[in-house]
């Protein structure tokens, strides 16, 4: 039997396979005017050190986050960003990046908040592209600026959960998926292993949350996603989270959970999944917020 990373995205049984493109697909669309490649990384030096030809950089801190308030950019700033990278609402934006596409999925999720429909993720991200020894360049592409008009104001309800919504979610005993590491889930640590214990005053997890570390969705050897069958085994069979459930996912600041939001929504076709981007750095500091800790 083939391992999932040897299968193309179309062969893995996803509900929406068109959301995922292979490195080969990207290689064949490097000069496609209808496609814009967007690289989003944790390491800010990675893009300028070498990126896929014609890819632009969208940085999670300086481009997607509000620079003062803990929140995302507003509609006008999003339009400015999209105009700067030369896209229109008809452009297919293909995201990829480091860390198994954490930040790429995060960027894709933010673009979705503003109703940009034509989004895709490059399966395996930078890791797979580099492992295949495909070309990288340091040449920063220049695209003519556009006058991008967003489809909508930022939608903070459909795929995003704010803390009051999460509080009601907990009271209603609806499913939550905690994608942090096992030690963060149990409260032994307030951050990933080897990271400092800072950012939250309390450890543990939101009551009722299921622990499914984000990395379980990924083939570690090349960063590709596991097959739909393997993913269903994890989320539906092991954890009992069903496609028609109202699901909230969270991590520490909402980036790892963006990847799980992507898996549940686009690969498995769950109908209602929201990313709680306040995540543990908000919940673990919130006065009076209920916490479960073994």
């Amino acid at each position: 039997m083939s391992i999932s990373s040897e299968l193309s995205p179309a062969e893995r049984g996803y509900v929406h396979p068109e959301i995922l493109v292979s490195t080969e697909w990207v290689a064949q669309h490097l000069n496609d005017a209808d496609v814009r490649l967007v690289e989003s990384n944790e390491d800010l030096l990675l893009y300028p050190s070498g990126h896929i030809q014609n890819a632009v950089q969208v940085d999670w801190t300086s481009d997607l986050n509000h620079q003062v308030v803990r929140d995302y950019l507003g509609k006008a700033e999003f339009e400015k960003l999209c105009s700067r990278i030369g896209i229109t609402p008809d452009t297919t934006v293909v995201f990829y990046g480091d860390k198994s596409n954490w930040w790429a999925a995060y960027a894709l999720w933010v673009f979705s908040l503003f109703g940009h429909k034509k989004v895709k993720l490059m399966d395996g991200g930078r890791l797979k592209w580099e492992k295949e020894k495909r070309a990288l360049t340091r040449e920063i592409p220049k695209f003519a600026p556009t006058d991008y008009q967003a489809a909508q104001e930022r939608d903070d309800e459909t795929i995003r959960a704010l803390r009051d919504v999460v509080m009601e979610h907990v009271k209603s005993k609806k499913p939550l998926v905690d994608v942090r590491s096992p030690l963060e889930f149990t409260g032994e640590r307030l951050h990933m292993e080897d990271y400092p214990n800072e950012g939250a005053l309390r450890g543990g997890h939101i009551p009722g949350a299921k622990s499914v570390p984000w990395a379980r969705s990924i083939n570690p050897e090349d960063g590709t996603f596991k097959t739909a069958e393997e993913l269903r085994q994890i989320y539906q069979v092991e954890q009992g989270v069903k496609p028609d459930d109202d699901v909230v996912v969270y991590c520490r600041i909402g980036e790892r959970s963006s990847l799980t939001w992507f898996v549940l929504t686009h690969l498995l076709g769950y109908q209602k999944v929201r990313n709680y981007d306040g995540s543990w750095t908000e919940w673990g500091n919130l006065v009076g917020a209920p916490i479960e800790k073994p």
């Binding site: 030096l45 990675l46 930078r126």
Partner: protein, 150 residues
């Protein structure tokens, strides 16, 4: 406490760049100069965990070589090919601390990471680079203590 003189000089040079991409480009030029520790210093792979920088997912390793004049030379390896920032940090630490007063290394502040790479650096990446500094400080302090034993 101010940073070591060579780091202060580097920061002055980086301050010339108004555009963040130009600043990143300057840092990448440091990464491009990265040379792995010679086998005579590092020994064969796999490198010992005791030399591995804590919290660094770029898998950076640090060795401190005592020179004849009481100064030290810093050597590094970065096993993750995507560890560009770690390579830049390694070259900066080597070029700014090797052959200098060892106390500059012992007292190097974590703040230098933010001064060089910017406050927008992610917590994960920043912690990894600080882990490299931790190991430089610890190894230098240990060698100084050994050298002071009568």
């Amino acid at each position: 406490m101010p940073f070591p003189p060579k780091i202060e000089q580097l920061l002055e040079e980086l301050d010339f760049f108004d555009d963040r991409m130009e600043r990143y480009q300057a840092l990448i030029e440091f990464a491009d100069r990265f040379q792995e520790a010679p086998a005579s210093i590092s020994g064969p792979r796999p490198f010992p965990e005791s030399q591995r920088a804590p919290r660094c997912d770029s898998e950076a390793y640090v060795w401190t070589e005592a020179l004849a004049d009481g100064k030290f030379k810093y050597h590094f390896a970065v096993e993750n090919p995507q560890g560009i920032s770690a390579k830049a940090m390694a070259v900066i630490l080597d070029e700014c601390l090797s052959g200098e007063d060892p106390e500059l290394a012992v007292n190097l502040s974590h703040d230098v990471v933010f001064s060089i790479f910017g406050k927008e650096i992610s917590m994960g990446k920043g912690q990894g680079l600080m882990g490299m500094i931790d190991l430089v400080r610890i190894q230098t302090r240990r060698l100084l203590e050994v050298s002071r034993v009568p």
